[in-house]
């Protein structure tokens, strides 16, 4: 039941807002649908906690510890983002950057996007997961190009082509997976594509095929995760789209893609019985961290800056999943959570900052703390959090990842140390000069929505000090699921 609402609400929202999305109450409606989704997610979560895993719709959908917390996270961030986008889009409209039609498009696509992500998370069918991922791309392409500026069109085009091509690779990977599976599970019905069944028989799947399949899947979904060198669409799409979209893109979409990769990794490792997939992930992870760190050094556009930081963090997560083991997996999951919370809150703050300063070029943004202390402190705190300074939760996960790396993969630690140092210098130096100093900027027509920012930061802060037991249990269960024995 909750489940139907969970998927139904956003789909319905997409349709409704597709028609009325231009009305001046549309933002509230948007919030409403997101709220319903979130409540459904909470209900679902409590049910999972109560009764354990859940299979619905003839095993087409499967909810376990691993994806249920991602579902809740997604729904939650979706809610806060809709809250944030309420004044944001109003201000944009007031600045005359979006027409009514564009608002309609924005709202309905936002809901659709949420729906696709939720489907991708909850489905048990690898094929359906692929379809949902593709749909997620398609629903956001038009949002990236919302402003119709040349830059945004270019960004959208790159996003479309690169992700489209990538996702096609993933499809081929899925086909190979199916091909390997149908030998054991038979081609009748869809059972050969159901993750639960695959997972049950992963030991018997043909290694050579699954190896190839994994390569295609990794390249395919890895493109959406934004692993270097497949990341090139990411900074453009983040920088040119409206800020709420940047927030959900790097806060949620990347997580979902990473989720897909990990699901596949579980199967493949089970079949290969070798650490090759893990090593591939680690390689991608390190490469992403290092490249992102050096790209960060050259940024002038604030949203690009944080887009690259997302790449860096996805790299860290990939590295952690690649290492495997209970602690690393736990840390990776924790990092997914705190990263999406922190990064979206940063984008909220950045959104208002850019609206205040009227530009995204960092050299022209100064003295936020004097202009609007809340935005300034929000940005400063968020940045410190994302840079892994305690007592924020990001530090907790990085602490675990680095210490584990020191034990299991000591060779990698110098690279990580270097990259983290460079990234820190790059981000902190710029943010500091944006937040501090003197300013001459104008007031905004609508009061900024800072509840989301500080809610997220508060949660991240909490996670740094204290992880609620049931959350911890999820993480442990999920870590075990991913193969953290």
């Amino acid at each position: 039941m909750e489940f139907v609402i969970l998927l139904g609400a956003p789909l319905l929202g997409a349709m409704v807002l597709g028609v009325f999305g231009g009305r001046d109450r549309a933002p509230e409606a948007n919030v409403g649908f997101s709220l319903v989704t979130f409540l459904a997610a909470c209900a679902l979560t409590s049910r999972i906690i109560a009764h354990g895993n859940l299979l619905v719709a003839r095993e087409q959908f499967f909810i376990d510890a691993f994806n249920v917390f991602l579902v809740t996270l997604t729904a939650f961030v979706g809610l806060t983002t809709s809250l944030f986008s309420r004044p944001y889009m109003r201000i944009e409209a007031a600045h005359g950057r979006v027409s009514e039609g564009q608002q309609r498009l924005y709202h309905s696509m936002f809901q659709l996007f949420m729906a696709t992500m939720l489907i991708a998370l909850t489905t048990n069918n690898m094929g359906l997961m692929w379809v949902a991922m593709e749909a997620a791309t398609l629903s956001t392409v038009l949002l990236v190009t919302l402003y119709r500026t040349p830059a945004s069109l270019e960004a959208g085009w790159k996003y479309f082509i690169l992700c489209g091509v990538g996702i096609s690779q993933a499809l081929f990977g899925t086909i190979l997976l199916y091909f390997a599976a149908e030998k054991i599970l038979g081609s009748e019905g869809v059972s050969a594509l159901l993750w639960t069944h695959l997972n049950a028989v992963k030991g018997q799947l043909e290694p050579s095929v699954l190896g190839l399949a994994f390569v295609f899947l990794l390249v395919g979904y890895g493109t959406k995760v934004g692993l270097a060198p497949l990341h090139n669409w990411l900074p453009d799409a983040h920088a040119e789209g409206p800020t709420p979209i940047s927030a959900v893109l790097s806060g949620l979409l990347l997580n979902v893609a990473m989720y897909a990769v990990v699901r596949c990794k579980v199967l493949v490792e089970g079949s290969l019985r070798s650490s090759l997939p893990g090593r591939m992930l680690m390689g991608f992870g390190l490469l992403s961290v290092v490249l992102a760190a050096f790209f960060l050094w050259r940024q002038r556009d604030v949203k690009r800056l944080f887009a690259y930081s997302s790449i860096e963090h996805m790299g860290i997560i990939a590295f952690a999943f690649g290492m495997g083991g209970p602690v690393a997996n736990f840390a990776a999951l924790l990092h997914m959570t705190v990263h999406s919370l922190t990064k979206s809150s940063i984008f909220f703050a950045v959104g208002h900052a850019t609206q205040k300063a009227g530009t995204q070029i960092m050299d022209n943004i100064r003295g936020l703390i004097t202009l609007s202390p809340t935005v300034g402190w929000g940005l400063m705190m968020g940045t410190l959090a994302i840079l892994g300074t305690p007592p924020f939760g990001v530090f907790a996960s990085e602490f675990l990842i680095l210490t584990t790396a020191m034990k299991q993969q000591p060779w990698a630690t110098p690279i990580l140390l270097l990259a983290l140092g460079v990234a820190f210098a790059a981000i902190f130096g710029r943010v500091q000069s944006m937040v501090f100093g003197d300013t001459s900027a104008r007031r905004l027509p609508h009061p900024p929505a800072l509840i989301p920012v500080f809610t997220h930061l508060g949660l991240v802060l909490l996670l740094g000090f204290f992880i609620p037991p049931y959350l911890a249990d999820w993480y442990r269960a999920a870590a075990r699921l991913i193969g953290g024995e």
């Binding site: 082509i161 690779q169 390569v215 591939m280 209970p326 602690v327 630690t413 100093g437």
Partner: protein, 668 residues
């Protein structure tokens, strides 16, 4: 074990929480100076004093542990109070009490950050330092450690409108963060296995020598960065002047010591048995820092920078001693190791008081005159006698002059260096005495620096007319200064008591304490078989008596008048304040002697100039030789890397294609 609620550890926890609460209370009326200064800061000072008392009491209790229900799921926050943390808690509490009292009178309107926020950051800073000392697992330690760094960063950037201060803050934060990662990695090596990050687990874990070495080096890197050990010192002379004086006092007086604490904790407690040759690394680095710092201090013209460099010197001395202690401990020479470690802790304690005192003194001067440049000060002893005389105590102490405290620790350190020739390692036993000589050189140079510091600020003629309007410190400020000065005197006069306190620590660290000497409480005999003794009280008494007798007899026998007259101007007339020696001038012999260390930019006037101009800039060679190249390198690499992303979608597709092909090839 537990002593009910009143056990020292619980009390410490309570007090640290109280500090945080006081800080948060600052947000109640963030803009009211009166509330914050008259109420909160004195409260914080009281808490500090209480903390010192509790820490002292804790020394007499057995080691106590506590687990809090927060932290990571498999890793709740562990706290532990043992002798080592106790001693450093005393340091933190006692020093911060004085500083807070001073701060109560110090903060005035228009200091950039709102006073309430400042109060929050200030007390969080204090509390986090306390938690660093109590933490008993890697996570809690890092949590407190980084909180300390962040809060102090915000305190440093209080006046963020000034670009230099932003720069300083950035540099400070960056080095602090890198250091923190290094420490973290070192814990990663030390950890007892999956999820075993508690210090107990680390004590239990057995490391291969190579790994232990790596861990030690990482720890040294991390803690050295926080302590300002050359070549990681560059942030220190930038950040300390940038911060408000009470904050500089805390950072220099207390925060640097937490790094020493961490070093001792890791190498003596967590690792158990350090290898003797590890000690040579901190020893050499420390010696170099000591000389480097003091030499640069002598060349400074900004009084707070001067003090910052002097802090580098003292940190150097601390790490020299620390290294020596490791050498002794590694060679199972228990008594010398204990003596050295005691000397180190003693010096840490001393420096906390002296340096805080001096920084607060400069703060008072800064408020009275608005000048930080020594070139515009002078003659303030007439305008602000309180500050001048109280600062003089700190000056004499830090110059290492008996009978004040600075001398005691240096004396102990030299005494322990006298064991050097018994080290059963050739070369080392010949080199160590020379190290002692260099240490003496550093100490003597410190005297030079301090004479410059005090003489140029407080003595002579005022170099600016505006100085005539300087006013003395307020009551609260005087109180703070007096507290710290008293600390210096007590530490100087009653060494035996403090040493017995420190030796409980060395006993707990299984290094062994000092052998019992039959000497009475006022006589310090650290090594009985050597019969070298030092009795500061007698010493002081004799001097005082002689001085009094001299004065009395002069009064008695020769009652001539004392006339006031103009100073001797060699018959030229018109002796004015610009004729006296400047700060640059006073540093000139040092610049001459230690030329190679400096990167000097000099503009000498020619005899024919209309307005002759003289400009002198003293640069840090290490900054140019180490940091600038690294920065340039990163920039170059970034430019190279940027080439990868040239905006052509074809190129991006090619990347994907190549990645795909390569991975497939891997799979073959």
């Amino acid at each position: 074990m537990s002593y009910g609620f009143a056990s020292p550890l619980r009390l410490c926890l309570l007090l640290l929480t109280a500090w945080s609460v006081v800080g948060v209370a600052g947000l109640v009326r963030p803009l009211s100076i009166a509330f914050v200064a008259r109420t909160l800061f004195p409260l914080g000072a009281a808490i500090g004093a209480a903390l010192a008392a509790v820490g002292a009491a804790g020394l007499h209790y057995p080691v106590e542990q506590l687990v809090l229900p927060i932290g990571l799921p498999n890793l709740p926050v562990h706290l532990r109070l043992d002798g080592l943390s106790g001693v450093f808690l005393i340091l933190l509490g006692a020093a911060s009490a004085g500083v807070s009292i001073f701060a109560a009178g110090y903060f005035r309107r228009g200091e950039g950050t709102a006073p309430g926020l400042l109060c929050l950051q200030y007390h969080l800073f204090l509390a986090s330092m306390g938690f660093v000392l109590l933490a008993d697992d890697a996570y809690a330690f890092m949590l407190a450690w980084e909180t300390m760094a962040v809060s102090s960063y915000f305190l440093v950037t209080t006046q963020h409108r000034i670009p230099e201060i932003r720069q300083a803050g950035f540099l400070y934060m960056l080095i602090a963060h890198l250091g923190a990662i290094a420490i973290l990695l070192s814990f990663g090596v030390l950890q007892g296995g999956t999820w075993h990050f508690t210090f107990d687990a680390m004590r239990a874990a057995h490391l291969a020598p190579d790994w232990a070495t790596i861990a030690f080096c990482l720890a040294l890197l991390g803690f050295g960065a926080k302590a300002g050990l050359v070549p990681l010192h560059v942030w220190l002379p930038e950040a300390h002047p940038a911060a408000p004086s009470p904050v500089s006092a805390l950072m220099s007086g207390v925060m640097l010591k937490t790094a020493l604490y961490g070093m001792i904790r890791v190498s003596f407690d967590l690792m158990g048995q350090p290898l003797w040759w590890w000690g040579l690394i901190p020893l050499s680095l420390g010696l170099f820092s000591a000389l480097y710092g003091v030499v640069f201090a002598a060349a400074q013209t900004d009084m707070k920078r001067l003090l910052a460099y002097s802090s580098i010197e003292n940190v150097g001395i601390l790490f020299t001693g620390f290294g020596l202690a490791i050498v002794f401990a590694g060679l199972k020479m228990r008594a010398p190791a204990a003596l050295t470690l005691i000397a180190v802790m003693y010096h840490a304690m001393n420096h906390a008081f002296m340096k805080s005192l001096l920084f607060l003194g400069t703060g008072a001067v800064l408020h009275a005159t608005g000048e930080r440049n020594l070139g515009h000060l002078g003659g303030l002893i007439h305008r602000m006698p309180w500050v001048a005389w109280l600062t003089l105590v700190g000056v004499l102490a830090i110059a290492g002059l008996p009978p004040l405290n600075g001398f005691v620790s240096e004396w102990l350190l030299l005494q322990s260096f006298l064991f050097a020739y018994t080290v059963p390692q050739t070369f080392v036993n010949m080199l160590l005495p020379l190290c002692a000589a260099l240490l003496a050189l550093a100490a003597a140079l410190a005297g030079y620096v301090m004479v410059k510091f005090f003489g140029v600020i407080f003595l002579g003629q005022p170099r600016e007319p505006s100085l005539q309007r300087a006013h003395d410190a307020r009551f609260a400020e005087r109180l703070g200064l007096a507290w710290l000065a008293a600390g210096c005197v007590l530490l100087g006069f009653f060494p035996t008591h403090f040493i017995s306190m420190f030796s409980t620590v060395t006993l707990q660290l299984k290094i062994g304490g000092l052998p019992e000497s039959g000497a009475s409480w006022w006589m310090l005999v650290p090594v009985p078989e050597r019969q070298s003794s030092y009795a500061p009280l007698v010493f002081f008494a004799v001097i005082v008596v002689v001085v009094l007798l001299a004065i009395a007899s002069v009064r008695l026998f020769y009652h001539q008048r004392v006339r006031k007259g103009a100073a001797w101007d060699c018959g030229f007339g018109g002796l004015n304040s610009r004729m006296q020696d400047t700060a640059e001038g006073f540093g000139q012999p040092i610049r001459h002697l230690f030329q190679p260390l400096f990167a000097i930019v000099r503009e000498l006037p020619s005899p024919f100039d209309g307005q002759p101009k003289y400009r002198l800039e003293i640069g840090d060679r290490i900054w140019r030789a180490l940091y600038q190249p690294v920065g340039a390198l990163v920039r170059q690499v970034a430019d190279k890397v940027a080439w990868l992303q040239q905006g052509r979608i074809a190129a991006y597709l090619l990347y994907s294609f190549v990645t795909l092909v390569v991975l497939l090839a891997l799979m073959l």
